[in-house]
């Protein structure tokens, strides 16, 4: 079997790892703008909705300040659980996660940042083989 490394597969793996290390997390999705790059713990339709909600949270939070400062992390603590959003400091990729009530915010943020960092890491580029051009011998020129 041949497995090809692709960005989508990286996101799926990062999200699977995220739910494995954070048992208090119930679902998560990585997104860029309105585009869902990957999701776990929720179906496609649900992923689209939570990504839309997370995007609205980021936009609304940014509007509250009114200056050029961006919201990079949001935690909404609700009666039924917590909603966490983390956005790249130098990019527009973000991750949203839903956690059970009582989850430790610091740990959730740490896990989400690690997930985003894992997604952001590009696969190593294949090394180009250096070839040396053979010097032409005088006899070959004819």
């Amino acid at each position: 079997m041949c497995l090809l490394a692709s960005p989508a597969m990286d996101v799926a793996q990062a999200l699977a790892d995220l739910l494995e290390v954070g048992p208090q997390l119930e679902a998560a999705a990585v997104f860029r703008g309105a585009e869902v790059l990957g999701a776990v713990g929720v179906d496609d339709e649900g992923a689209g909705r939570i990504v839309g909600d997370a995007g609205r949270l980021l936009d609304l939070a940014g509007e509250l300040r009114g200056d050029s400062v961006r919201a990079t992390q949001i935690r909404a603590s609700l009666a039924g659980g917590g909603v966490y959003v983390v956005r790249e400091a130098e990019g527009d990729r973000a991750v949203v996660a839903l956690a059970a009530r009582g989850a430790t915010p610091g740990l959730v943020f740490y896990d989400l940042k690690r997930c985003l960092a894992a997604v952001a890491e590009e696969p190593p580029k294949p090394r180009r083989r250096r070839t040396t051009k053979k010097e032409e011998e005088p006899g070959d020129a004819a």
């Binding site: 909705r49 939070a61 509250l64 949001i74 909404a76 603590s77 609700l78």
Partner: protein
């Protein structure tokens, strides 16, 4: 003597139950939104604030989606 012990145990049990009930009731109502900005600042909005009234609906919707699935 046994009667005093029973009274003390009853009082201790009631105190523990009251603490649990208080914490549970308080925890269930304390909705809030914490926003961290890229300049390092953190703003915490209590549920009664106008800002939280704008931020909480999308968060509630996201949670409802997960609870429904």
């Amino acid at each position: 003597m046994p009667r005093r012990l029973a009274t003390l145990a009853g009082l201790a049990g009631a105190a523990v139950a009251a603490v649990f009930a208080f914490r549970r009731g308080l925890g269930g109502r304390s909705e809030r939104v914490d926003v961290y900005f890229d300049d390092g600042s953190l703003v915490s909005y209590a549920s009664s604030s106008a800002e939280a009234q704008r931020l909480l609906p999308p968060a509630r919707d996201a949670l409802a989606v997960i609870r429904a699935s």
